[in-house]
Amino acid sequence: MKQEKEKLKILVVDDEPSILMPLEFLMRKNGFQVFIARNGTEAMESVNSELPQVVVLDIMMPDVDGYEVCRRIREKKEMSGAKVIFLSAKTKEADIKKGYAAGADLYIPKPFSTRFLMEKIKELTGTVSK
């Protein structure tokens, strides 16, 4: 379907089901094609197969952490235009710096405002409401 193809692909990565649930709802409601991953490995699989335009990343995950996932995304040529947003409970200055150093476009500490998150995603993807 044509309409479906125009939809931006977004990958949401978090190991907490109770956080994935609202994120998935939000993205879907805002017209994204949503993919879900519950750890770093799943995230990379999804990145490789779907090449999403936006990735929302948790940092503390059981296998590969968010920083590493971000770095791998940045190494990938096909993902050069993709936006990466960290969504993390790690709120220390050093953690945030590390996130940007890994190549993130944005770092949002948890708990977050759903409105703020969506605004920022739209800003980044240039789909600010016309």
Binding site: M21, P62, T91, P111, S113
Partner: protein, 907 residues
């Protein structure tokens, strides 16, 4: 062999010795000392091996067998102890400028003149027999070599001239310098040379007898077996034999320390204490080597000569002679001559210094003539008195030889000397290790020992030569049976040496200790006792640790020193002192008390310590000081050293403390990091449910049009996450209380069955929902536990709910069991889940441990549950652990101790 040829060779040999000594002294003056090495030192100690060894051992071996070895075993056993005993004596003598054993003893007991002179007299009496046997050996060997018979009654005979010759030689040789502390490098060189000569010649003679006269050791032994008393010679006599060996060994252990000549070479002539290290094994080695051929020569002599035809003492000379080996015989004679002369030279020098310093000088300096002046004449007087003493000693030795020694074997006479010097053992050994030993004790011990020595050893020998009636021996002195010299106070069954040693040593020691304990020390004695016993502490600050109080004028002291040391040496000695203790020249001309001590020490080296004390006393005005003062001042001077040590210790302590602080800091840092980590983990764990709650709430708020199903789902999650949040907070607080020790337990008797029942009931619904098979098996009639009931339930609920989460999802099985084992109650909670791998088994009890395997990660849970369980069980003095294998389920177990006789058990 021509008589005059042998005499000529003997004198040439003495001239050679003299030349050697002069050469060594010239070298030493040029700074190329030949003596300052441990080998020369050890060789000079071999002056122990005299004609007694050279001739007498063979004689002893030929008549009494192996017994001759005892006097070499003693010194060999003593050698390892030198580091403790001899080193201390050396240090004391260096510091105090002590030159003889008499001076040593008198110094230790307050520089007492009486004690010094008694020791001197005992030494002279004791050593003269020893010197006499050297004369005897020379005379006998000369007569054997030249085949002349000794005319016992003739005077003057050869041995008289030998004695006079040796006296003159020793006078020229030994009294050129008056200061006795000045080492005799020439003499030591000559002695070392003589030690080499006697050893080499003796071995050559031994090889000759063993391999040329006979066909080796085997041959001699094979032939000797036919001797009628062979077996007796080669075995210990069973009757009293061991006792005799013991006393002989003991005797020679003391002799090696206290014989005046051994004291001279080992202590006075010692250049460096470190030389003892090598001497400690070189000297015993020398003794061993020189004894190798004693037995072959002795047995060879017995085999070659008809019994009684040749004196066994002369076998070593007689064998080469009988084989027509003239040159070898002459060499052997020279070897014996060297063994005898070395002993005579060293012993007479030592005795003469002792006599002049302890007998003559104290008498002289006490006379008004010397007290009021004329001190400059003392020096010359001293030299002449020493020369006279040398002559006197040798004449006495000659007379003893003619009167007594001629009729006894070398060894018999020698042992009498050993026993005499052994009498110094209690006073010397006690003096350097026991501060309480007093002058009275030393005097009493030495006098008693010496009198008994005289009575049990000398008197019998006088009876033997008919100087005393034989009734003394058979009936006891004055007809009192208890006073028989060989069976004193009725003691029987010992040979005469053991008998004498037993009585002299035991009564000597007993009196020394007993009188010392009963008598009091003077301040001077106390001072010396402290310095002697603790010499290694005082030796560096000696001048300041000797107590002297009084008024002294520098000019007086200077002139006193000049009269003994001469102008030049006095000035340089005073300069040395001022360099060491710089002090402004006092305007009043008063001398520093330290200088008085220093001057006395300088004089001690020349005239002995007690005389020096009198001399110094004559020019200064000394004040009596109390023992308390002595101890105070000693303590002060000791503080100098101890302060130094203290500083060293302090800085070591500081270093240690720094290290400890650093590691404590490290630990704190680690704890801090742990705390930080904990905090950030806690906040992270708090943020997760909070994030979910906030996001879901916002969604619900922003989307009122949401379908009811979704709304309910979101709201349910919000409630669940809120519960999680509050649970987490409760647990964090719980944990904190346990960690800080603030958690109090409501200990009361608890029935395990009830607790388990209650815990299971709380989870019953969940278990049913999941279709899990639960088996509860708690032993009946368990003694009540003393525990906090609620906390115990908390643990059980936690463990069972973990089991519920992790057991097999299809066919879950959980077993809870409880029973009594090894004096405690054990509870198991077992599931049939995936199990836990080995490396995680310890870590799951850590806070916030997240199992690496995502699949067994707790779907919900704070990560604090097991940590809290562990805290609870440990605070009950129990143990919580897990047994598991991956794929075979997990069994969590805990034990709780039970106090069996609990009165309140029936609660």
């Amino acid at each position: 062999m021509n008589y005059w040829l042998v005499i000529g060779v003997s004198f040439c040999y003495l001239a050679l010795l003299f030349g050697l000594a002069s050469w060594a002294e010239t070298r030493s003056a040029a700074g190329k000392s030949f003596v300052s090495n441990p080998y020369i030192y050890a060789l000079s100690m071999a002056v122990y091996c005299t004609a007694w060894t050279y001739y007498g051992s063979v004689g002893r071996a030929a008549t009494s067998g192996l017994e001759y070895l005892a006097i070499y075993i003693g010194p060999t056993l003593m050698a390892p102890l030198w580091w403790v005993v001899l080193r201390k004596i050396i240090r004391i003598c260096k510091v105090q400028r002590i030159t003889t054993i008499a001076d040593f003893i008198s110094s230790r007991y307050g520089k007492n003149i009486t004690l010094g002179s008694i020791v001197t007299v005992v030494c002279v009496l004791g050593v003269i027999p020893y010197i006499s046997i050297q004369l005897k050996a020379i005379a006998s060997s000369l007569s054997v070599l030249t085949s002349t018979t000794m005319e016992a009654e003739a005077f003057p005979d050869t041995s008289f001239f030998i004695a006079i010759g040796l006296a003159l030689f020793t006078i020229v040789y030994g009294t050129r310098h008056i200061e006795a502390t000045e080492r005799h490098e020439g003499m030591v060189t000559a002695i070392a040379f003589e030690s080499v000569l006697k050893l080499v010649v003796f071995i050559v003679a031994g090889v000759f007898v063993t391999y040329f006269v006979f066909n080796g050791f085997d041959d001699i032994m094979a032939q000797a077996v036919q001797l009628p008393d062979f077996e007796e010679l080669m075995t210990f006599r069973s009757e009293g034999g061991y006792g005799e060996w013991f006393w002989m060994i003991f005797l020679s252990m003391l002799a090696i320390l206290f014989l005046p000549r051994q004291f001279q070479v080992a202590v006075v002539e010692n250049v460096n204490e470190q030389h003892l290290n090598k001497a400690m094994w070189l000297f015993p080695l020398y003794l061993f080597v020189i004894n190798i051929f004693v037995l072959p020569i002795a047995l060879g002599g017995r085999l070659l000569f008809a019994p009684g035809s040749i004196d066994a003492d002369m076998f070593v000379l007689a064998i080469p002679l009988s084989q027509g080996q003239g040159v070898l015989a002459l060499l052997v004679y020279l070897g014996g001559f060297s063994a005898a002369t070395s002993m005579v030279i060293v012993a007479t020098i030592a005795l003469s210094v002792m006599m002049s310093n302890n007998l003559v000088m104290p008498l002289m300096v006490g006379t008004p003539y010397f007290k009021t002046g004329n001190q400059d004449r003392l020096t010359r007087f001293l030299i002449y008195s020493r020369r006279l003493c040398i002559l006197l000693v040798l004449v006495l030795a000659y007379l003893y030889y003619k009167g007594v020694a001629e009729y006894y074997s070398l060894v018999e006479v020698g042992l009498v000397s050993f026993a005499a010097v052994a009498q110094f053992a209690p006073a010397v050994i006690g003096g350097i290790f026991w501060k309480e030993g007093t002058k009275g004790g030393a005097l009493a011990g030495i006098i008693m020992g010496s009198v008994l020595w005289f009575y049990t050893l000398v008197v019998p020998s006088m009876v033997g030569v008919s100087m005393l009636p034989t009734s003394v021996m058979s009936e006891g002195a004055f007809g009192i049976a208890l006073l028989k010299p060989f069976e004193l106070f009725g003691l029987q069954g010992l040979d005469y040496i053991s008998h004498a040693m037993f009585w002299t040593m035991s009564l000597n020691t007993a009196l020394y200790i007993g009188v010392s304990l009963l008598s009091r020390q003077t301040s001077q004695e106390r001072n010396q006792a402290e310095v002697f016993v603790d010499i290694f502490r005082y030796s560096t600050v000696y001048e300041s640790s000797i107590i002297w109080k009084g008024t002294a004028y520098l000019p007086d002291i200077r002139s006193l020193l000049i009269s003994f040391l001469g102008e030049q040496r006095t000035e340089s000695a005073l300069q040395t002192f001022h360099r060491k203790y710089p002090a402004p020249e006092s305007e009043t001309g008063l001398a520093d008390p330290k200088l008085v001590t220093y001057a006395e020490k300088l004089l001690s080296g020349v005239i002995g310590s007690s005389s020096a004390h009198i001399m110094v006393g004559s020019v200064v005005k000394e004040e009596e000081i109390s023992i308390d003062e002595v101890l105070d001042i000693l303590r002060e001077s000791q503080q100098l050293i101890s302060m130094n040590n203290e500083l060293r210790r302090k800085s070591k302590e500081l270093r240690l403390a720094t290290g400890q602080l650093r590691s404590a800091n490290e630990r704190l840092k680690q704890l801090d990091e742990l705390k930080d980590e904990f905090l950030s983990t806690v906040t992270h764990e708090l943020r997760t449910p909070l994030t979910s709650i906030r996001a879901l709430s916002e969604i619900l708020y922003d989307n009122p049009e949401l379908e009811r199903e979704d709304q309910e789902h979101f709201l349910q999650t919000i409630v669940k996450e809120s519960e999680r949040l509050s649970r987490l907070i409760t647990q964090v607080l719980d944990l904190e209380r346990f960690e800080s020790g603030k958690q109090e337990l409501n200990i009361a008797p608890v029935q395990l069955r009830e607790v388990v029942k209650e815990s299971v009931e709380a989870l019953e619904r969940l278990i049913e929902e999941k279709g899990i098979t639960l088996v509860v098996d708690v032993q009946q009639n368990l003694p009540p536990l003393l525990a906090d009931r609620d906390r115990l339930i908390q643990v059980l609920v936690n463990l069972i709910s973990n089991a519920i989460k992790f057991c097999n999802p299809e066919q879950g099985e959980i077993t809870v069991s409880g029973y009594w084992i090894d004096g405690q109650v054990k509870v198991n909670v077992m599931d049939n889940g995936k199990g836990i791998d080995q490396e995680s088994q310890e870590q799951i009890f850590d806070k916030f441990y997240q199992a690496r395997n995502q699949n067994i990660r707790k779907p919900e849970g704070s990560g604090l549950g097991l940590a809290i369980c562990k805290k609870i069980i440990v605070s009950h003095k129990g143990r919580l652990w897990v047994d598991s294998e991956p794929g075979k389920g997990a069994k969590f177990s805990f034990t709780l101790p039970v106090n069996v006789p609990v009165p309140a058990a029936k609660a």
